[in-house]
Symmetry: C2
Subunit: 392 residues, 2 copies
């Protein structure tokens, strides 16, 4: 166990961690062939690891982040660092994903801006950032990149893959693309086909970015960033991750530092407005607008039924061999429970081993990111069970 | 009954109608004093009427439109006009609001762009459009303007006031501001206090408008309009009026005129994307961006509990004398049924006569605008009952 004392109250931490990277496809002949048919290379994948790899290399858990995350899932980058990784409450010694037992690998996804190749990376053909010349990527492409990294790390088999939202889509994709390499799949607050409602919100967010003149068709890396467009996009996304009841509890109709309405537009009336604006401007500092376009597009394209070339969900998981844990949250209206139930039905029709749990939570879609003892226990027990069965 | 044949299949129409207007507060001394304390004048109110005023002037139904509507609730402007008023399916001979029996008055609300004074009207102080110099108005101010029109028309008492969404807020406001002048209140898909979620979406939409450089702090009337910002704002609003199930049924994941994904950003992949873009660009042609700011702000400020200066809902309707019909729709997540129930509870605590119905409907918040026999019957029966009780 780490001697490092975490800054938050979520218990012991994996401590100081280092972001690493691996680059492949440096020669044109080795380029990664994407689902679109486009060839991409070189490809750098940023990653972090927590815990110790067992001598038999059989204790690996791969974590997938969601839309706005990156490979920094746990720990701190320095003693002075006050902000831990995005899943600090789940990943660490004695936690749901227990780094005393498991070797955790966490990567930044293809197309994003967390160190893995994406639209802000240098296009070797021009020596400048790709911008919109970066090819549109899919969840399948993200998973291929992760698989290349695991090959490099000489990890043949994953004890489990785990993720929420877009991360859950990657976990599901793993079970079909590399069925012999995955023991367990943990899919949280996710879906097997992105809904029209989810596509609608993503499309509006993309339109908000593209409406910003600074976006300049994706060429803004040497000038002003499309900050206002990206802020609006983030606000749209952010409100869909919350819930009516969470917003009521957190803000209600409380005014922001005033007793009465301002009767003005250059002032802020409600706390919820102030909160959203803050979320928007904070996001702009850390996220790339083009990446937002690419990552939301990948989510919109995600549709396991379509890939199965079947007109029903029956055959979707015919090739899968893993055990599954599917978890939804009562107040998640972006990926509602009925979508998890559809996933569970499709798995059962293919005789997959699947556990399903709907957790009562007010926090909306974001519930999977919030400390929840029940979720931690579910994940810990599932990992333990997969490990037991694997060692039989 | 009108001899005019309606263009749609919703039955007979009120036929050709004419938009009228009335201007008051032309002298500074007669200015309308708004809730903010600001004085406004002159004020023009645009309106239409359908049906015949009874000799005893006791058959008047006042209709309130929602955010993006105007006074043109029913009928056509000419024989060549193919687009009827926004509530054509509800208002007309033999319909839910039966113009064979009732004299219907429908006004454009203060602050909007449907002919009633708003930010695009000429500011008498400058001879130019008000822009952001227009004062922030409230639902109460809207209702005051309607009352001035009714005084002008010598209509002392309303058989009923009726509206959905922001229109429902106006109806509720009438019952408290002028309790002796309203017999019945029909409040559809509405709330007595705008929720944090609803404020959040409105705020994001406003931010989208203000992020458009053409918005230019509200001064755009002699130049390029903030069309992209307003389109994004409309798309945000529009998707909140629909529902997950309605979007699934209407669009699902169907592609727009293609067999496979485009893998591009300058193309449209999904039908739902095409639909939203169409909604956005259509709206820009008919609506003023500044009005969008003012009207959403009025909705956000709406809070009957706050006005009651009470910390519970008990006293809110203490002054009301009308009978109430409250209707919610199962798939409306912007003004969910629990908010209608809160309203009903507050009314009952004050011993008001109230009927409540939750209608099963997939269409989301927009359900109140969509032909629904049950809704039409509920409204017709309620009006009939109020009329009977009034004539006792």
């Amino acid at each position: 166990m780490s001697e490092y004392t975490a800054h938050d109250a979520s218990g012991p931490s994996v401590g100081i961690v280092t972001k690493q990277s691996y680059t492949f496809a440096e020669k044109p002949a080795e380029a990664l062939v994407l689902e679109s048919g486009t060839r991409l290379g070189p490809v750098t994948v940023a990653y972090e690891t927590y815990g110790e790899l067992s001598p038999t290399r059989d204790n690996v858990v791969l974590i997938h982040h969601a839309l706005s995350g990156d490979c920094h899932a746990a720990g701190y980058y320095s003693k002075a660092d006050t902000k831990p990784g995005w899943w600090e409450t789940m990943v660490g010694p004695g936690k749901g994903i227990d780094t005393d037992h498991y070797f955790v690998v966490s990567t930044s996804i293809l197309g994003s801006c967390g160190g893995t190749t994406g639209p802000c990376s240098t296009n070797p053909a021009t020596g400048k950032p790709y911008g919109l010349d970066f090819p549109v990527v899919t969840v399948g492409d993200m998973v291929e990149v992760q698989k290349k990294l695991l090959d490099h790390l000489r990890i043949e088999r994953l004890l489990a893959v785990v993720g929420g939202s877009l991360g859950g889509m990657q976990a599901l994709e793993w079970s079909l693309r590399f069925p012999d390499r995955v023991g367990g799949v943990i899919a949280l607050a996710t879906t097997m086909r992105h809904s029209a409602l989810a596509i609608a919100f993503n499309e509006i967010a993309r339109q908000a970015i593209m409406a910003d003149p600074n976006w300049n068709n994706g060429h803004y890396y040497d000038g002003e960033k499309p900050a206002t467009g990206l802020a609006v996009a983030r606000m749209i996304g952010h409100v869909t991750y919350l819930s009516d009841v969470a917003l009521r509890r957190k803000f209600g109709r409380r005014l922001q530092g005033k007793e009465d309405f301002s009767f003005q537009f250059d002032d802020i009336d409600f706390q919820v407005e102030s909160y959203l604006r803050h979320q928007g401007s904070k996001f702009v500092e850390r996220f790339d607008a083009n990446s937002f376009l690419y990552v939301t597009k990948a989510a919109d394209y995600f549709d396991l039924e379509r890939r199965a070339e079947a007109d029903s969900a029956v055959k979707v998981f015919a090739g899968a061999k893993a055990s599954f844990l599917v978890v939804s949250f009562t107040s998640d209206w972006l990926y509602p429970t009925y979508q998890s139930r559809e996933l569970v039905r499709a798995l059962k029709k293919n005789n997959r081993d699947v556990s399903f749990c709907e957790i009562k939570a007010d926090a909306g879609h974001d519930a999977f990111l919030i400390p929840n003892q029940r979720l931690s226990r579910l994940i810990a027990n599932f990992l333990e069970r997969v490990r037991r069965e694997q060692s039989k």
